[in-house]
Amino acid sequence: MNDKPEKLIDKKGLRLDGRKPEELRPVKLEVGVIPNADGSAYVEHGKNKILAAVYGPREVHPKHLSLQDRAVLKCRYHMAPFSVQERKSPAPSRREVELSKVIKESLEPAVFLEYYPRTMVDVFVEVLQADGGTRCASITAAALALADSGIPMRDLVVACAAGKVDDTIVLDLMDTEDKLGAADVPVALMPNLNAITLLQMDGILTHEEFESAVNLALEGCRKIYTMQKEALKTKYVSVSEENKEEAEE
């Protein structure tokens, strides 16, 4: 079917897509894309295309899930059947269930849930196209959607992965690198609090390699964080600029 490349990093030290080991894929972020949702965001990270929408805080359904002292955060990570090489069944897979849980847990520390007892905040993430690192891009999108919804937050959450490929620690693995590489370490960060809210690994690493990978992933996170802030501000900056121009005429 597909030819497996022999080397993931060539003699010049470049990866299959031409990147250097510490290079991020191109990232594009847009906020407020789904008019019906209370908050929303669209992320393109490499070939990943991910949409996140937030509804809430709103009434809890079913009622017995309601908490007396804070809001409940629910998260659904789901991949579209056409998002991957071989069509995926629309029914939630075990992987999607696990990712829904870890993504929820990566966002909870950032939201002031205790301000809104007896309500529910729903976060929906749909992966329209996948190419490795979807859970990280999903977290980046979901945090933007939460900020866009106007729910108070301690910090944004941003995520990026690092890993090991051909004996080299690399940043932001794409799908082939993830499948054929030695390890993949996704990390989510609240940058201002320097708090890691998601950390997983599959593969094999020595302790030293693990430390390098985490630090590289955190660097990647901070780069994407700058873009997140810009994306949130862009909506409002463009309106001021328009008005400045009108005034100058």
Binding site: G56, R58, Y115, T119, G150, R154, L156, N192, N243
Partner: protein
């Protein structure tokens, strides 16, 4: 000990605004002597208190607020009301009827039915109970005509303007009566549909551009231009 950002600077959640002896105001929080933004918005401060004027927020009820709501359901002894908030409000039958509710005699849907609009006041709300409303005061009660628009509640003060200057100007230019619910719901009642639509556009423009300066002048100009166009078309 510094305030690190200028007034009217745009911030995102988690941005550090100030360090030291300051008070964390609206849409901010403090941790270990530092004040951070909790929402996307614009930094404002008066001496010691630091606020972030949020660009988008939803309405959380406060006792005494005048709001505009939609009846959702006629219940056992009252109504549940959508007040554009995460919390659903309750309006007791006894409050509306101004006397104890008699289930055999009183037909609640006749008084207020699902889909009706009311102007009401929040009489109580806390973390453990849903907000309770009253309509037993002058100026409150069922709405029978007009247009309803929803804007983000944090912009209502901007629509009011300094000492009511903005809202008075809109009322004057459009000839409409306007009730501003603190929950972001606005009722516009005018003589003609065009007048109501004009007022709607003015208010939506304020919502979009609330963070910019010179807004009052621009809105006034827009209204005057539109009125002039209307006069032209009538001829």
């Amino acid at each position: 000990m510094p305030i690190l950002l200028e007034k009217r600077q745009l911030v995102t959640p988690g941005d550090l605004i100030a360090e030291g002896e300051y008070i964390a105001g609206e849409n901010t929080f403090s941790e270990k002597g530092k004040i951070y933004a909790a929402r996307v918005g614009i930094v404002e401060y008066e001496t010691k208190k630091i606020d972030v004027v949020a660009l988008k927020a939803f309405y959380v009820p406060r006792t005494g607020d005048i709001i505009i709501g939609t009846i959702i359901e006629v219940g056992f002894n009252g109504w549940t009301v959508d007040i554009n908030s995460p919390y659903i409000a309750l309006l007791r039958a006894s409050d509306v009827l101004s006397r104890p509710f008699k289930p055999q005699k009183d037909d609640l849907p006749q008084v207020l039915d699902a889909g009706d609009l009311v102007v009401a006041k929040v009489v109580s709300y806390d973390r453990t109970h849903d907000p309770q409303l009253t309509v037993a005061e002058p100026g409150l009660g069922k709405i029978t005509r007009g247009q309803i628009i929803k804007i983000t509640p944090t912009k209502i003060p901007r629509v009011i303007g300094r000492k009511g200057s903005m809202i008075s100007m809109i009322k004057q230019e459009t000839g409409c009566n306007i009730i501003l619910g603190l929950n972001g719901v606005v009722l516009i009642t005018g003589k003609t549909l065009e007048d109501e639509e004009l007022a709607t556009r003015a208010i939506l423009k304020i919502e979009q551009e609330s963070h910019t300066s010179g807004l009052t002048d621009r809105v006034t100009q827009m209204l005057k231009e539109e009125k002039a166009k209307e006069e032209e078309n009538k001829k």
